[in-house]
């Protein structure tokens, strides 16, 4: 069994008066891919965003319980959110490049971290783009606007951008939902490579995708964690009836 990278304990989240997460306790192991599945609105994104405190940005959010990353409660007052987010990177559903060049996009994080040496930045940009398997496609147009890339390329560039700050964990919220099958296959291949070095948490609506890329799967329903375990087991012999019904497409 691998080490636990993220542990949540009785995590409850309210949007105003509406409960969106009901007492979620879950252990995410290091350097594996954990998938969150469940019908729309069940709280997958909400839960994912509690892991790097992106929900802090939304007014009227109330959170109780604990989220431990490497054993430290990230909702502790002493925790520096900025450092946390450097350690826990995020890739969004809709690719969201900055309206800057490809180079400036990827160099953004390192620059924020105070790296100004041009050579060093070039090095980081190159390795990050290589890790995201997009270097060959963009190496001759690094200084062109990132907006000119295709959707799939943009998404891989966003992954490169996240990698450039050297995170340990990467959260992905439906990273391939807006992409064609070929781009999706590339992203999945990429996830497979990345898990050698990173802990990956991915939200997906695509059952096959969850089955293909993940080691562990968590099934959410109406803000509750219904079942969590090895992907193979969840997809073949789930314990709960709801899980089985969802996976076989009988509801959701």
């Amino acid at each position: 069994m691998k080490e636990i990278k993220i542990k949540t304990k009785d995590l409850i989240l309210y949007y105003g008066a509406k409960m969106a997460l009901n007492s979620i306790s879950l252990d995410i192991p290091e350097k594996e891919v954990t998938a969150f599945i469940g019908p729309s609105g069940c709280g997958k994104s909400t839960f994912l965003r509690t892991l790097n405190r992106m929900n802090d940005l939304i007014p009227n959010v109330k959170i109780t319980g604990e989220v431990l990353v490497d054993g430290l409660n990230i909702y502790d007052k002493q925790i520096d959110v900025v450092n946390l987010r450097k350690k826990v990177g995020m890739v969004f559903q809709k690719s969201n490049p900055f309206t800057k060049s490809i180079f400036e996009n990827v160099a953004y994080g390192p620059k924020i971290n105070g790296i100004n040496n041009r050579k060093k930045l070039e090095e980081i940009v190159e390795t990050s783009l290589k890790k995201a398997f997009i270097w060959e496609e963009v190496k001759d147009r690094l200084h062109d606007s990132a907006m000119g890339l295709s959707g799939g390329q943009q998404q891989r560039m966003c992954i490169a951008r996240a990698l450039a700050v050297e995170p340990e964990i990467i959260l992905m919220d439906e990273p391939a939902s807006a992409l064609d099958p070929i781009s999706t296959a590339k992203i999945e291949e990429l996830i497979f490579e990345l898990k050698k070095h990173y802990t990956i948490v991915i939200v997906t609506h695509n059952m096959q995708q969850a089955a293909r890329v993940s080691d562990l799967t968590a099934f959410f329903y109406l803000g509750e964690l219904i079942e969590f375990g090895k992907t193979r087991k969840i997809f073949t012999t789930p314990d709960k009836k709801q899980t089985e019904e969802y996976i076989t497409g009988r509801f959701g």
Binding site: V82, N83, R85, N96, P97, G109, I112, A162
Partner: protein, 299 residues
């Protein structure tokens, strides 16, 4: 349909068409009259020469120069201040906080205050209070800042145009997508870094539009500078912030009301009006173009 209804319907269509036509007609007549009246006087010489013969002849260069200087100093004051206010309102203040609502109320009110009131305020606040205060403190009561000059006129104008800047920049800031801010924050940027590196660059065209609209407004207004710095006639160009200046709008006003022979200066009045109109028209057109690009981008 009854005949009566058809007639009222027809009348209404006619009425709307007529009012639309009236507006266009007014603009066209206005332009034609000004161009006919000013075209013989308007020349390169007119733009670059000083007035002569008690302003009965010559050019309007000092007025153009003074107007340009006025809007530059005004922009230097209004644009950063307005931008910062807009950033505060959109990024930091809670929508419903008392402070934010007070600021918004103040901005709206500022936008509706008659411009002559700004002129009086400038006289009372900048000249009598700040300026005289500076003279007392720094110059032992010697009169330097406690009188009308281009600095006080520009600052007065800056107050008048501040709402324009704030509203334009706010609008532009709101077009910066949330996804981009989130991307920045998720990379470990602080809120301020996100504002500086993503939000402000993303609002550049809005800041531009605001500046141009403010400049075009500032170039055309006369009332605010009436008591705060505009001069009737100056033989030299202003060289210091404590100098007075000539101004296009004010020039038209005095030529039309104060000159020794109003009829004789008529061509100069028309030509000056032409210059002022062209200036504000070009500025407004540029602002409209930038703004429509911005709106398209926001969609």
């Amino acid at each position: 349909m009854s005949r009566k209804k058809a007639i009222t319907g027809g009348l209404f269509v006619g009425l709307t068409a007529f009012s639309a036509f009236l507006i266009i007609a007014v603009i066209i007549i206005l332009l034609v009259v000004i161009i006919i009246g000013g075209k013989d006087t308007f020349s390169w010489e007119f733009l670059t020469a000083f007035p002569e013969d008690g302003m009965m002849k010559g050019g309007i260069f000092p007025a153009i120069y003074g107007t340009a200087l006025l809007v530059v100093i005004m922009s230097v004051a209004a644009v950063p201040f307005g931008t910062i206010t807009a950033i505060y309102l959109t990024e930091y203040a809670h929508e419903k906080s008392i402070l934010a609502q007070t600021i918004r109320f103040a901005v709206r009110t500022l936008a509706t205050v008659p411009s002559i009131i700004f002129g009086l305020f400038g006289l009372g606040f900048f000249i009598k209070f700040v300026g005289s205060g500076m003279d007392d403190v720094f110059l032992g009561g010697q009169l330097k800042w406690g009188q009308p000059n281009i600095l006080w006129a520009s600052l007065t104008m800056a107050l008048l145009t501040l709402p324009v800047v704030i509203v334009s920049v706010e609008e532009a800031i709101r077009t910066v997508p949330r996804e981009m801010r989130e991307a920045s924050l998720a990379l470990g940027a602080t809120k301020w870094e996100t504002i500086r590196r993503i939000v402000i660059p993303g609002s550049r065209s809005g800041i531009m539009t605001g500046t141009i609209l403010a400049v075009s407004r500032g170039a055309g207004e006369v009332a605010p500078i009436l008591f705060t710095g505009a001069a009737y006639y100056l033989a030299t160009l202003p060289t210091s912030l404590s100098d007075q200046f000539m101004n296009l709008g004010y020039h038209i006003y005095i030529m039309a009301t104060q000159s020794a022979n109003v009829d004789q200066t008529l061509p100069i009045q028309f030509a000056t009006t032409m210059v002022l109109l062209m200036l504000t028209f070009i500025l407004n057109l540029t602002a409209v173009i930038i703004r429509s690009r911005l709106r398209r981008k926001a969609k």
